[in-house]
C-alpha cells in the first residue's frame, strides 16, 4: 500500500523567547492508505503543531523552516493558499477536540455538511441532500431527519463529534487527521466514536493520523505508534510491538505511568474513626418559579457513604453524574438541599456560614485546573500561609510550616516568593496540595485533581497524594472520571450516574465484579482494558 502522507525531516521553529528553539525537530513519519498512525506525546510535545502544519493551518509564527510534507507526493508546504483550499476536505480532513467550538452554532447541521459539497462538487441541491442523508446514516446518528434539522447546541457531545466526522469524510479524503477527537468526551461515548472512526476508515481505506496523549486510546485504535517528546520522535513502531517492548526510556516511562485498571490492594483499618458520613445527601437546582415554569435539576439524590481516617473513597462517574456536586456540598462551597453531612460529630449540612468558618479547616479541597486554582497576583508563599493566618497562626510560624510543606510536595522551599505563572501545571498542583495541607485537614477532597495533568506528571502527583494520605493519616475523597486512576488510589468506590450512586463497595469488589449495568458499561468502554498497563 502506498503512503498517503509522508513527512520528511520536518522542522518548525518557535518564536524567539520560547522555552525551546524548535516546536518540531527533524520529524519523519509516514501514513499508509488504510492505516491508523497514532502520534502520542505529552502537552507541549508538538503533536498539534504537526497536525496543523499538515493541514496548512499553522499560524504565521509557526512556519516550517525545513523538510517537506507530502500528501500523495504533493508538497503541502509549497502549496498556495488556493491549492490548500482545494485539498482540504477533498484530499485531507481534520476533526478537532472540541466539537462544540468546531461547529458553527448558528447553522443547522445539514447546512454545515452541505456547505462542503456545494464548495467542492457540482451536485445539485437534491443530490447534495441525498448525499448528506447518506453520510448521516453512515455515522450512525439516530433519526437522521431530526439530526439534519438540528442546531449544534441541540445535540450531545458525541452526536456533535459524529457530525464533525460526517463533514470530514463526506468527500472521502485519503487522509484524516484526528486531533484528540475523544478527549472532551465521556468514556462510553469515546468508545463509540473510536469504533466509528475505525469502521469508516476501514470502509473507505482512509489513512488516519490520530493525535492523542492517552495510551488507552492508542491501544484501542492504532496500527502504528509514533512517540513524540519535546518536538522530536523518539520511537516509531507497530502498536503491539511498542506496547509490549518499548525501547526508548521515555516511552517506557510513559507506558509505566499509565495507571493499571486492576485495583491495588491496600490494607486499611476498618475500625478507624469515621471522618465523614453523608446520609441521603441531595442537591436540587431549581430555576424559574414566580412567573416562568419551574424547572428542577436533581444534581445529586440520596447520596450516602462513610469515610474513615486513612481511607480513600473514590467517586467515579461521567460528566453530569453529580460527582463534583457532592464534593462541593461536602466542602460547603454550595449548600445541600437536604440530607446530612457529618464531619466527625458535627453536622455541617445546615450550619450557618458563620458557625461553619471554624470548621472549614478540617475539610480542604484540591481542584482540577491548576492554572485557575491559584490567585495569579499572589505569591505561592502567600497562598500557602493564607489559611493558617486566618486561624490565628503567626506569620513566621506559618512561613516555617509553608517551607516544610514545600519540601513535602517536593518543591524548592526558596520558591515561596515566586508567582504561580512561574510554575508548570504539575508544580502548581503540588502547590495547591501544600496549601490544603497547611490547614492540617482531616479530609482532603481531590476534585479531578490529576485530570488536567500529563500522564507522567499525573503518576507523580498520585504518588504524592498516596504518600501524604498515609503519612498524615488523612481521609481522602477522590473524585474522578478515570477508572484507572480510581483503581490505583481508592479503597472504596462509589459509582455515580445521573445524580445517584448506582454502585458502592470496596475497590476490589467494584472493579473485580461490577454488579450494576452502568458500571459494567463503564468498564467495557475503558480504553485499552485488554492491555496490562502500569504493571
Amino acid at each position: 500500500m502506498g503512503a498517503v502522507l509522508e513527512i520528511r525531516d520536518l522542522t518548525i521553529a518557535l518564536p524567539r523567547g520560547a522555552d525551546r528553539g524548535n516546536a518540531v525537530t527533524g520529524v519523519n513519519l509516514t501514513v499508509d492508505r488504510g492505516e491508523i498512525v497514532c502520534l502520542v506525546g505529552e502537552s507541549g510535545s508538538g503533536k498539534s503543531v504537526i497536525a496543523h502544519a499538515v493541514m496548512g493551518l499553522s499560524p504565521k509564527e509557526l512556519r516550517a523552516t525545513g523538510g517537506e510534507i507530502l500528501l500523495e507526493g504533493e508538497d503541502i508546504l509549497k502549496a498556495s493558499p488556493a491549492r490548500l483550499r482545494e485539498l482540504r476536505c477533498v484530499r485531507m480532513s481534520m476533526i478537532f477536540q472540541e466539537p462544540m467550538t468546531a461547529l458553527n452554532p448558528v447553522m443547522r447541521c445539514d447546512a454545515q455538511i452541505e456547505e462542503v459539497l456545494a464548495m467542492h462538487t457540482s451536485l445539485n441541491a437534491e443530490e447534495r441532500r441525498a448525499r448528506v442523508r447518506r453520510i448521516i446514516e453512515e455515522v450512525h446518528l439516530p433519526d437522521p431527519e431530526r439530526m439534519m434539522a438540528s442546531y449544534p447546541h441541540q445535540l450531545s457531545g458525541g452526536q456533535r463529534q459524529r457530525i464533525m466526522i460526517a463533514i470530514a469524510l463526506i468527500m472521502e479524503p485519503v487522509l484524516l487527521i484526528a486531533d484528540e477527537p475523544t478527549t472532551a468526551l465521556d468514556v462510553t461515548t469515546q468508545a463509540q466514536i473510536l469504533k466509528l472512526i475505525r469502521e469508516l476508515q476501514q470502509k473507505h481505506g482512509t489513512g488516519v493520523l490520530f493525535i492523542t496523549h492517552d495510551f488507552g486510546v492508542v491501544a484501542e485504535i492504532a496500527d502504528r505508534v509514533a512517540v513524540l517528546r519535546l518536538g522530536a520522535l523518539v520511537e516509531t513502531k507497530t502498536k503491539t510491538e511498542l506496547l509490549a517492548r518499548p525501547e526508548h526510556a521515555y516511552t517506557q516511562m510513559l507506558i509505566a505511568s499509565v495507571p493499571s485498571i486492576k485495583p491495588r490492594h491496600r490494607g486499611s483499618d476498618a475500625a478507624a474513626p469515621i471522618v465523614l458520613k453523608t446520609e441521603a445527601l441531595a442537591k436540587i437546582y431549581s430555576s424559574g418559579g414566580f412567573l416562568a415554569r419551574k424547572r428542577e435539576v436533581h444534581a445529586a439524590v440520596d447520596v450516602s457513604f462513610t469515610l474513615r481516617r486513612g481511607q480513600t473513597l473514590g467517586i467515579v462517574g461521567e460528566s453530569g453524574s453529580g460527582k463534583s456536586t457532592v464534593a462541593r456540598c461536602i466542602a460547603r462551597l454550595i449548600d445541600p438541599t437536604s440530607g446530612s453531612v457529618k464531619l466527625g460529630n458535627d453536622e455541617i449540612a445546615t450550619m450557618s456560614a458563620g458557625a461553619l468558618r471554624p470548621l472549614r479547616r478540617r475539610v480542604q479541597i484540591v481542584f482540577q485546573d491548576p492554572y485557575r486554582s491559584l490567585n495569579p497576583r499572589r505569591t505561592v508563599g502567600e497562598a500557602i500561609i493564607e489559611g493558617p493566618l486566618n486561624y490565628g497562626i503567626s506569620r513566621s510560624d506559618a512561613l516555617e510550616r509553608a517551607r516544610k510543606l514545600m519540601e513535602t510536595v517536593r518543591l524548592d522551599p526558596s520558591a515561596l516568593n515566586r508567582y504561580p505563572h512561574q510554575f508548570s501545571g504539575g508544580q502548581r498542583q503540588r502547590i495547591c496540595i501544600a496549601r490544603a495541607l497547611a490547614m492540617e485537614p482531616e479530609l482532603l477532597i481531590a476534585d479531578e485533581a490529576v485530570s488536567a495533568l500529563d500522564v507522567s506528571v499525573q503518576a507523580q502527583v498520585l504518588d504524592l497524594l498516596d504518600e501524604i494520605r498515609d503519612r498524615m493519616n488523612l481521609a481522602m475523597l477522590f473524585i474522578t472520571h478515570d477508572l484507572r486512576v480510581a483503581a490505583q488510589v481508592c479503597d472504596h468506590v462509589a459509582v455515580m450516574s445521573k445524580g445517584r450512586v448506582v454502585e458502592y463497595g470496596t475497590a476490589a469488589d467494584v472493579f473485580g465484579a461490577p454488579q450494576h449495568a452502568y458500571t459494567q458499561a463503564l468498564f467495557a468502554a475503558a480504553p485499552g482494558r485488554d492491555y496490562a498497563f502500569g504493571s
Binding site: L333, R361, V363, S373, R377, S424, Q460
Partner: protein, 314 residues
C-alpha cells in the same frame, strides 16, 4: 503508582517541568516598549510639569487685567496692572482677551484645573464604582437594588446630572468634581460587577472560602486585585471624558466661576469675538484637544498591554 520506573523518573521530570516554564517579560518593560504608552505618557508628563511650574513659565497672575491691553494679538507687547496697582511691561504670547487679561497665563494655569478635575473625577468615580460593583457582584442580595439605582443614573444624560448638581451647590472645584464623577459611577460599577461575577467562580476564590478567609478579605484581597488592569484602563477614559465635561460646563457658564482660569471659561469668553480674534478660542482649544488625545492614547496603550483579551496571541 509506586512503580520503580515512575519514582526513578521523578527527579528527572521535575527538571523538565522547570524547563517548561515560559519566560515572561515583566509588565513594566512591556509598558515601556509600547508607543502609545510612551507618547501619551510623555505628553501627560509634560502637561503635569507645565501645571506644576505654571508660575515659573513667564506667566502673570491669570486674573490680572489692564484696560489698555485689551484684545491684543499674539506676540504683542503691552502692560498689565498688578494687584498693587503697578503697571508692568508684559509680552502677550497668546494675545489678550476683551478684559485685557493674558491668555497665555490663563491657559497655562487652566492646565492645573483640567488635570486636577480629570484625575480627581477618575479617582472618585473608580473608588465609588469599585465599592458598588464589588458589593453588587459578590453580595448577591445587594445586586438587584444597587444595579437598579445605577440604571436610573444611567438613564439621565451625564451632562444634565452634572449641570443640575452644580446648580444645586455653590460652584466650586469640589462641587464640579463630584458633579462630573457621579454620572461616571454606573459604568465603573457595571464593569467591576461583570468582572467580579466571573472571578468569583474561579477555583482560587473557592479555595479561599474553604481556607476560612472572610468575605471582606476575599472581596478586597482576592477579587479586587484581579480587576485592576481593566479598571486602570477605564480610569484613563473617565479622566479624558471628565476633562472634556469640565470644559463643556465652563463653556456653558455652569461650571467654575468665570474668574477661574479654565480652558472652558477662556473659550466661552472668546466665543463672542471669535470672528475677529480667533486666538481666544484657538489656544485653549489646542491644549484641551492635545490633553484629551494624550490621555486616550495612554489609555489605549495601557489596554493593549494590560488587558489579556486584547493582547496579541503567539
Amino acid at each position: 503508582m509506586s512503580t520503580p520506573a515512575a519514582s526513578a523518573t521523578l527527579a528527572a521530570s521535575l527538571s523538565t517541568e522547570d524547563a517548561n516554564i515560559v519566560a515572561r517579560a515583566s509588565v513594566w518593560s512591556k509598558l515601556a516598549r509600547h508607543w502609545g504608552v510612551r507618547i501619551g505618557g510623555a505628553a501627560m508628563l509634560l502637561l503635569t510639569l507645565i501645571a506644576l511650574a505654571a508660575p515659573l513659565l513667564g506667566t502673570v497672575d491669570p486674573t490680572l487685567f489692564d484696560p489698555g491691553s485689551r484684545d491684543l494679538l499674539p506676540g504683542a507687547q503691552g502692560e498689565i496692572t498688578t494687584l498693587e496697582g503697578e503697571s508692568i511691561k508684559h509680552e502677550f504670547m497668546m494675545g489678550s482677551d476683551s478684559f485685557g487679561r493674558d491668555i497665555y497665563s490663563r491657559v497655562i494655569y487652566g492646565t492645573r484645573v483640567s488635570l486636577i478635575v480629570g484625575l480627581a473625577c477618575a479617582l472618585v468615580s473608580v473608588f465609588l464604582g469599585v465599592l458598588a460593583g464589588l458589593s453588587a457582584g459578590y453580595l448577591r442580595w445587594l445586586d438587584m437594588p444597587l444595579m437598579r439605582v445605577m440604571d436610573g443614573i444611567m438613564a439621565i444624560p451625564g451632562i444634565l446630572i452634572a449641570i443640575a448638581l452644580v446648580a444645586l451647590w455653590k460652584a466650586s472645584l469640589l462641587s464640579v468634581i463630584v458633579a462630573i464623577a457621579i454620572p461616571e459611577i454606573p459604568r465603573v460599577t457595571r464593569l467591576v460587577r461583570s468582572l467580579v461575577l466571573s472571578i468569583r467562580e474561579e477555583p482560587y476564590v473557592e479555595a479561599a472560602v474553604s481556607l476560612g478567609t472572610s468575605t471582606f478579605k476575599i472581596m478586597f484581597g482576592h477579587i479586587l486585585p484581579n480587576t485592576a488592569a481593566p479598571l486602570i484602563v477605564q480610569g484613563t477614559y473617565i479622566c479624558a471624558s471628565a476633562i472634556l465635561t469640565e470644559a463643556i460646563l465652563s463653556f456653558l457658564g455652569v461650571g467654575l466661576p468665570t474668574d477661574f482660569p479654565t480652558w472652558g471659561n477662556i473659550m466661552a469668553e472668546g466665543r463672542v469675538q471669535f470672528q475677529q480674534f480667533p486666538h481666544n478660542v484657538f489656544f485653549p482649544g489646542i491644549f484641551l484637544a492635545v490633553t484629551v488625545l494624550a490621555v486616550n492614547v495612554l489609555g489605549d496603550g495601557l489596554r493593549d498591554v494590560l488587558d489579556p483579551k486584547m493582547a496579541k496571541k503567539v
